[in-house]
C-alpha cells in the first residue's frame, strides 16, 4: 500500500491545483507543467535510465505536435473524425515512428556519437521546418482549432480548463506507464546497457536493440507531450522542435535529478514556473537559468532530488532538526550574497535606469550604489564562508548518527 501513496499525492495534486490557481494564467501554467512532466520523463528514459545523452529530443516532441496540429486542421476542413482526446495518441505514434526510423542508426553507439547524431538531426529538422512549408507552416507555423472534434461526454475542449483535464489524465497515465517501464525486463536491461554495454552483450543481449526499445518508447511519450502542447496552444511553430527546446528538456531532467524517477518531474515543475514567472520580472532569466544549470552540474550532480534524498539518512535517525540552526545560519548570508549579486547584475543590465529590486528602487548609474552592493556581497560572502565549518560538522553528526 505504501508505494501507492506517491501516486495518490500526484493524482490529488493534478486534481486540486486548478482549483487553487483558477485564473487563465494559472491554468495555462499548470497545463505547461503537465506537458513538461511528460516530456522530461520521456527524456530521462534516455539520459538517466539508458545513458543516452540527446541534444535533439525536441524532434519527437515537435513532430508529434505538428501531427496533432494537422489532425486539428483536418477536422476543421473535413468535420469531426475522431475524438480530440485521442490526438496525443496520434502524436505519440508519430513520435514513436520517427524514433524508430532515427534510432535504427543513432542507437548503434551511445556516448559521443549518439549525442552528435542527435544534435545534427535536431539542426537538420529545424532547417527542414523552414523549407517544408506545407507540413511545418513556415514562419507562421500550423494552427488548428481543438474544439472541432466530436463532443466527449459534454466536453468540447474550447476552454482551457477542459484541455487541462485532458492533459492531467494523459500526464497521470503517461507517468504511470513510464514508471512501469522501469520495472520491466526491458527497462532494467536499459540500465544494464547504460552501465556496461559489453557485459550486456555477453549476457546474450543485442545492445542496440535494448537501446532502440527505450528510444522508441521515449519517442512515443515525447510525441504525446508534443500533441498535448499543440492542443494547449492551438498553434505550433518551428520553435517547438528547435535545439533550444531540446536544451530546455535537458535542463529540466538534469536540474531535477536524472538518477531518480521523480527527478524530471521536479525539474519540469520548477523550470516551467521559472520560465513563466521569472520571465515576467526580469529579462535576465535565461542567464539565471544557465547559471543554475552550471551550479547544479558542479555541486549537485544528483540534482535537486539528490539534495532532498541526502536528507533521508538524518531523518531516519531523527536528527533532521539538528540541521535547522546551521542551515539558517548559512542561509542568511548566502541569500544576502546572492541577492547582492542579482542586484549587481540587474543594475549593470539596466545601465542608467532605475531598477526595482525586491521592492527597493535602485537608481542606476551611481558609483556609490554599486560600491554599496559590492560591499554587501563581500561581507555576506565572508560570513557565508565562516558559517560553513559549523554546517559541515553538524552534517557529519547528523549522518553518522552521533548526537552533539
Amino acid at each position: 500500500m505504501r508505494h501507492l501513496l506517491p501516486w495518490g499525492i500526484f493524482a490529488l495534486s493534478l486534481l486540486l491545483l486548478p482549483w487553487l490557481f483558477p485564473s487563465v494564467l494559472g491554468i495555462s501554467i499548470l497545463n505547461e507543467m503537465a506537458i513538461a512532466i511528460v516530456f522530461a520523463l520521456s527524456y530521462n528514459m534516455l539520459l538517466g535510465q539508458g545513458g543516452m545523452l540527446s541534444f535533439g529530443h525536441a524532434v519527437y516532441f515537435g513532430l508529434g505536435g505538428f501531427l496533432a496540429a494537422h489532425a486539428m486542421l483536418g477536422m476543421e476542413q473535413d468535420g469531426p473524425v475522431f475524438s480530440v482526446t485521442l490526438i496525443p495518441l496520434v502524436a505519440g505514434i508519430g513520435g514513436l515512428l520517427a524514433a524508430l526510423l532515427i534510432g535504427s542508426f543513432s542507437t548503434r553507439r551511445a556516448g559521443t556519437s549518439f549525442a552528435m547524431i542527435s544534435l545534427g538531426l535536431g539542426e537538420l529538422l529545424a532547417a527542414l521546418s523552414l523549407i517544408l512549408v506545407g507540413f511545418f507552416g513556415g514562419e507562421a507555423g500550423i494552427s488548428g482549432d481543438r474544439s472541432l472534434g466530436p463532443d466527449f461526454f459534454g466536453f468540447d475542449f474550447a476552454q482551457d480548463r477542459q484541455v487541462y483535464a485532458l492533459a492531467a489524465v494523459w500526464t497521470f497515465a503517461s507517468t504511470l506507464l513510464m514508471y512501469l517501464f522501469t520495472l520491466t525486463p526491458a527497462g532494467r536491461m536499459a540500465n544494464a546497457v547504460r552501465d556496461n554495454p559489453e557485459r550486456a552483450a555477453f549476457l546474450g543481449y543485442r545492445v542496440q536493440r535494448v537501446r532502440l526499445l527505450s528510444f522508441v518508447v521515449s519517442g512515443f511519450f515525447a510525441g504525446a507531450a508534443g500533441g498535448l502542447f499543440a492542443l494547449h496552444n492551438e498553434i505550433l511553430s518551428a520553435q517547438s522542435l528547435s535545439t533550444a527546446n531540446s536544451g530546455n528538456v535537458l535542463l529540466m531532467a538534469y536540474i531535477g535529478g536524472i538518477g531518480f524517477f521523480i527527478g524530471p518531474i521536479i525539474g519540469a515543475v520548477l523550470l516551467t514556473l521559472i520560465n513563466s514567472v521569472l520571465s515576467h520580472y526580469t529579462d535576465l532569466w535565461l542567464l539565471y537559468l544557465g547559471i543554475s544549470f552550471v551550479l547544479t552540474v558542479m555541486f549537485l550532480p544528483q540534482g535537486l532530488t539528490g539534495l532532498l534524498m541526502m536528507h533521508v539518512a538524518p531523518w531516519r535517525r531523527g536528527l533532521l532538526h539538528t540541521l535547522l540552526r546551521p542551515y539558517l545560519r548559512t542561509a542568511v548570508p548566502a541569500l544576502l550574497c546572492v541577492s547582492g549579486l542579482l542586484a549587481l547584475l540587474e543594475t549593470l543590465h539596466h545601465q542608467g535606469e532605475a531598477v526595482i529590486f525586491l521592492g527597493i528602487s535602485l537608481p542606476g548609474g551611481q558609483a556609490s550604489n554599486w560600491l554599496a552592493i559590492v560591499l554587501i556581497i563581500t561581507l555576506a560572502a565572508l560570513d557565508w564562508h565562516r558559517s560553513l565549518p559549523a554546517l559541515r560538522a553538524a552534517w557529519q553528526r547528523a549522518t553518522r548518527g552521533e548526537t552533539p
Partner: protein
C-alpha cells in the same frame, strides 16, 4: 563431434603475434584448464572463443557451427558464457540487480515490455539463491561499484554461472580471493558446471588440479602440451616453460 574445436587459430596485435597456430578441442562435459605464464595469450584465447575478438586465421567451431565471425550476443544465445579477468559488472546496479539481469534471458524474460520484475517471484527466488551461493546475500543491495575486490570477483563469477550455458569460460575466477573464499568458489564452480563443459584459466594450481580433468599449456602464444594432470606435471616441455617459477611445484604439492 567435439563441443568446441579450434583449428590453426592465430591472432596478432600489430606486429606482435599473440597466438600462433592454436588447435584445441574441448569435449562436451569436460573440465579443461588452460595454464601458462603471464602474457602467454590465455585471455586473448578466451576473447577469440567468446567473440570479443576475431582470429586473423583459423576456424573456431562450437556445436558444429563456425563461430569465428559471430558477435558475442549470438554466442551467448548459442550457449556460451564467459567471465572476465578484470571484473566486468554493472557498477550502478546492486549486487541483486546484477544477478537478476544475468538471469533474465536464461529464465525467458528477454526484453519483455509486459512483465513486471517485482511480480516475477520465481526470478526473484532464483536470484536470491544465486546471491546466497556466491556469498553475497548480505550485500544484496550494495552497488556493484561499492563492493570489495573479492566480492566483485564473486559477482563476476555469479554473472557467468547464472547463464546456465552449455560451455562456461572462466578467466582466473579465484584470483584475488582469500583461501576460504577461493575454496567456496571452487565448490560452487564444481557444482554449477556439473553436466556442463568448463574451460578454465587459472594461476592457482590448487584450483586447477581440483577442477580440471584435462590441462593445456600455453606459452608464448603456442600450445605446448595438452593432457591429463599427471601427464602435464611430468611433461619436460612444461617444466621448461615454467623454469624458475614455483607454480608447478605448488601444483605438485597440492
Amino acid at each position: 563431434m567435439s563441443l568446441l574445436q579450434l583449428q590453426c587459430v592465430s591472432k596478432h596485435f600489430g606486429r606482435t603475434r599473440v597466438l600462433e597456430d592454436i588447435s584445441l578441442t574441448v569435449e562436451a562435459g569436460e573440465r579443461h584448464a588452460i595454464i601458462g605464464p603471464n602474457g602467454a595469450g590465455k585471455s586473448t584465447l578466451f576473447d577469440l572463443i567468446s567473440g570479443r575478438l576475431s582470429p586473423d586465421s583459423g576456424s573456431i567451431h562450437f556445436r558444429g557451427q563456425a563461430i569465428q565471425a559471430r558477435p558475442p550476443h549470438e554466442l551467448a544465445q548459442l550457449g556460451l558464457a564467459r567471465s572476465f579477468q578484470l571484473s566486468s559488472l554493472f557498477p550502478r546496479l546492486s549486487a541483486f540487480e546484477n544477478l537478476r539481469c544475468a538471469l533474465l534471458r536464461p529464465m525467458g524474460f528477454g526484453l519483455s515490455l509486459t512483465r513486471l520484475l517485482p511480480r516475477a517471484h520465481a526470478l526473484t527466488a532464483r536470484t536470491e539463491a544465486l546471491l546466497e551461493e556466491i556469498g553475497l546475500a548480505e550485500r544484496r543491495n550494495t552497488l556493484a561499484a561499492e563492493l570489495s575486490y573479492a566480492e566483485q570477483r564473486a559477482l563476476e563469477l555469479g554473472l557467468t554461472l547464472a547463464s546456465g550455458a552449455e560451455l562456461i569460460l572462466l578467466d582466473e575466477p579465484v584470483a584475488g580471493m582469500s583461501r576460504s573464499e577461493a575454496a567456496q568458489a571452487i565448490q560452487l564452480i564444481r557444482r554449477v558446471t556439473q553436466g556442463r563443459t568448463l574451460l578454465l584459466v587459472e594461476h592457482d594450481m590448487g584450483a586447477v588440479f581440483e577442477l580440471a580433468e584435462r590441462i593445456s599449456v600455453l606459452a608464448d602464444g603456442r600450445l605446448i602440451a595438452s593432457g591429463s594432470p599427471a601427464q602435464i606435471r611430468t611433461n619436460p616441455l612444461v617444466q621448461q616453460a615454467y623454469l624458475g617459477s614455483a607454480i608447478m611445484q605448488e601444483g605438485v604439492d597440492a
